[in-house]
């Protein structure tokens, strides 16, 4: 592939990743309660970061960078999953109520 095409694909991935992270920032304001915010923002940003890493690896390709990129994506997704779970659990245990449009709410029905 010519350098122009490589640079185009890499830049496209990075712009797309930046767009997804910007969307997550808007979601932080728009979404109604802590649970929707955590689940949407915590990991939609994960996809954004993954796209940026893919873009960087495409722009500056080497086998070592590819391996580093894959490890970075996996570590990013696992840590953001555990972080989201911990935030949701902490919020539930300190009595954070989900927004009223949450239907059904089987957790509230049970306790």
């Amino acid at each position: 592939m010519t350098p122009e095409i490589v640079s185009f694909i890499g830049s496209a991935f990075m712009v797309l990743g930046a767009f997804i992270i910007a969307t997550a920032a808007i979601g932080l304001i728009k979404l109604p309660d802590v649970y929707t915010r955590t689940s949407a923002v915590g990991t939609a940003a994960g996809l954004g970061v993954s796209f940026m890493i893919i873009g960087v690896v495409v722009l500056d390709y080497s086998t070592l960078n590819l391996i580093k990129g894959i490890i970075a994506i996996i570590a990013q997704l696992i840590t953001s999953a555990i972080g989201s779970f911990m935030l949701a659990r902490a919020s539930y245990m300190t009595g954070g109520k989900p927004v009223e449009t949450t239907v059904p709410d089987e957790l509230a029905d049970q306790s």
Binding site: I20, P32, S39, T43, A44, I78, S80, A88, V99, T101
Partner: protein, 130 residues
């Protein structure tokens, strides 16, 4: 013979790769759903919390399942009740249809077992110890 190959220990690498591919696809699709929800003006999410029965999983499998459910942007595990083998999952696009989310989560659960266990069809209650 094909069916017995897919349930034999030798097909485990194939099943694991298949599961990873399916999961990456799910992750991208649900991420884009959440992105469209956020950038559509005036659209509100229709969240819900459902309880899901999660019996016959080892500790390792349960941890992986919780991580995978939370990684997909539209679902989030809030609490786990180990004694009753039950977990509470928050979904962003439930729209009152609790059964639909339960079926989807059950599918993730079954696919995870098929991608992780050496003998997925025996269905032993102990699961794998990695």
């Amino acid at each position: 013979m094909r069916g017995s190959f897919l349930s034999s220990p030798w097909s485990l690498p194939l099943r694991t790769i298949g599961f990873i591919g399916w999961f990456v696809w799910q992750f991208i699709v649900t991420s884009l759903q959440v992105v469209t929800l956020i950038i559509t003006p005036g659209r509100k999410p229709a969240p819900g919390i459902v309880s899901v029965k999660m019996d016959s999983l080892s500790d390792t499998e349960l941890t992986i399942l919780i991580a995978l459910i939370t990684i997909t942007p539209d679902t989030l595990v809030i609490a786990v009740d180990r004694e009753k083998g039950e977990m509470f999952v928050h979904g962003m696009f439930v729209e009152g249809d609790a059964e639909g989310l339960r079926v989807a989560l059950r599918q993730t659960h079954d696919r995870l077992i098929a991608g992780l266990r050496r003998n997925p069809e025996i269905g032993d209650s102990k699961g794998v110890e990695l």
